[in-house]
Amino acid sequence: MNKPLVRIQGLSKKFPKNLRQSSKQGFAKTIKSLFGRSSEFTSVQGDEFMSLNNISFEIKRGDVIGLIGKNGAGKSTLLKHISGIHLPDAGSIEVSGHIEALIELGAGFHPLLSGKENIKQRVSLLGLSKPETEKILKQIIDFSELGDLINMPVKNYSSGMQARLGFASAVLTKPDILLVDEVLSVGDFEFRQKCLSKINEIKKDTAIIFVSHSHQTLRMFCMRGIVLEKGTMIYDGSIESALDFYQSSLKQDDLIKENEQAPDRSSVYGNEFINSKKIFSFEAEWVDKEFKPKTSFISQESVYLRVKVHFDLDQSINNLILAIPFWHDEVYVTSLSSDVINEKINIDKGIIDYVIKINPAFNEGIFFSCLAIHDGPEHLVRKFLPELKIINNHERSQGIFKLNYEFKNLKEFH
């Protein structure tokens, strides 16, 4: 029978908020332990926070679990508990088998020693015979593709090279339990693919726990997802449903945040502006094809923006231009402009009521944009638009835009 390799029951952990308090607490616990007394688990005090709260789940060989949550949700802390670095304040963690943690891959190497000497030390932890050690050493050196550089001191390695060594040392030692904490974003593309392929290869014989903010990676590897929020496990289910749950909880959080306080966006996106002498009123919103207001769209559907502006008829406007720049993660990504596509915007009795249709192009993500209305070079309006949220439709995607492309055999090309 496939017994659980990790069984977590009612795991809770609290941490002090400052270092001095942490030292005092640790010191007090040490003194108690010296006298053979166990420290009591008390409720959270004013200068403490609950890092993990009553977590329970099991992992068997062959399971690949994705831990999902915002920064500070408790994902890395949970991994540290499983690997035995942290002890629970309440509850238990039962672990059976050899654990390897892909956490900070370059950490633990001695900078003055060569890569080979460092991995020799790492492999000696397995307690293998000499021939077995030599065999695994060779495999690690081959996998890391460092060649002769393996004899160079680690201090001269780039972070990517250290990651190669760290990854190879951990994965090739055939762990029963593998903990992966957001480390597969290091190294070059080719090596990353090699790492992912290696994880894919060992996953049937290993219990793997993944922490990654890349939903694509989680979808690719995990069958199950656990969502953590402020140290509490709020969802446990299939990876698809867990990611959907996480997305929807993010949206709710964002709404609450928006109501709580409007962020200062001008430092990134520039200032808002409206020329009230020429414009009486202004409305712009994201809508569906029936022109009903909508802020979330599926990645493969068209997105519409409705713009309605009342102009002062006494003011002359000669060359009206509508433009919508987009940002993603505070990085400018593209713009739509009536001027670029030579679309003339006509004012009808002092009003424009336009719909801008954007064909399916956005991948999953949150896009920020603003509407700019110009009269030739003169700014009339520059107003931020509501955030445009694109939800994944469960298709594989890469990057922030889906380009319209096709693959064809050369013979079929024309």
Binding site: S22, S23, K24, G26, F27, K29, T30, S33, L34, G36, S38, S39, F41, H81, S83, G84, I85, H86, L87, P88, D89, A90, G91, S92, I93, E94, V95, S96, G97, H98, I99, A101, I103, E104, A107, G108, F109, H110, L112, L113, E117, K120, Q121, S124, L125, G127, T133, P153
Partner: protein, 282 residues
């Protein structure tokens, strides 16, 4: 009960209720299983300490050779005097060899958890393996000093005694005493650096009250105090044993050794209980 094959149930203070016997059994298995790691780690410390120097391992000889040479020169010029019947240069050189051994044992064991923080935060292998590896280097340095003492004994034309050959194992009581104090301090140094400073002060000035450089008074309050100072008891007795093949104070030596064994048993068990907590707070 956890075993060395990584099958373990972590709970709050999960090692607290484990018996002394089980704790030692765990350590014994760990030392046997990870003997290769202990050796590789010892080599790592050894290589790393001289990797960036031109003379490399030669420093291991130069560093202890310089003070011995200085003491010999001072003796030749009559500047090194002592009220002991033992040649003063021998008195100082043997005293310093034991003191260096003792103080290095304290320092390396006390600092091992912080020094190995990066590894200990990633891999949950027993901390005792790191202590043993780091004591290996202390022992190596002592062996170099032993060779210098042998050279000095021949240079001074003293009558050969079989106890000279026992010099390498004479390090044991002081190395263990240093390790016991160092491990005990390492429980606290991770929380408060004050511990490290206090130990540093003791190691800088303690040699003046431990019979390292000059003999201590033979009577009075000071004498009473020093007759209970375990470091003085070991240094003085072992020095007498090497040079004159006799024990100075066998009774105190045995009591101190008994106390050391009890302290060692206690500290190792406490290390077993506290290790997970230490790892957490590193």
């Amino acid at each position: 009960m956890e075993n060395i094959e990584h099958s373990v149930t972590y709970t709050k203070d999960y090692r607290l209720k484990v018996s002394y016997l089980k704790a030692y059994e765990f350590y014994l298995h760990a030392i046997i299983k990870y003997k290769q790691f202990i050796f590789v780690n010892f080599l790592k410390y050894f290589k790393a300490s001289y990797e960036q120097s031109f003379l490399r391992i030669t420093w291991k000889i130069i560093l202890p050779l310089v003070p011995v040479s200085v003491y010999v020169i001072l003796q030749e010029f009559g500047l090194l005097r002592s009220n002991s019947i033992m040649p003063s240069v021998l008195y100082v050189v043997i005293g310093m060899a034991f003191w260096q051994l003792f103080s290095s044992a304290i320092t390396v064991t006390m600092n091992t958890p912080s020094k190995e923080k990066a590894v200990l935060k990633k891999v949950t292998i027993p901390l005792i393996l790191f202590y043993i590896s780091s004591l290996g280097e202390v022992f190596f340095d002592y062996l170099i000093r032993v060779v210098l003492i042998w050279v000095l004994l021949f240079y001074l034309k003293l009558e050969f005694s079989l106890t000279w050959l026992l010099l390498p194992i004479f390090c044991l009581p002081l190395a263990l005493l240093g390790a016991v104090i160092g491990i005990f301090c390492s429980f606290f140094v991770i929380f408060f650096n004050d511990v490290r400073n206090i130990v540093d002060i003791f190691l800088k000035y303690g040699l003046f009250v431990c019979g390292v450089l000059f003999p201590l008074p033979g009577s009075g309050l000071f004498h009473t105090f020093f007759s209970y100072n375990p470091i003085y008891i070991y240094i003085e007795n072992l020095r007498q044993l090497i040079v004159f093949s006799t024990f100075n104070d066998v009774e105190h030596f045995l009591y101190t050794t008994l106390g050391l064994i009890v302290a060692l048993i206690f500290v190792l068990k406490k290390l077993y209980s506290l290790e997970p907590r230490m790892r957490e707070y590193l």
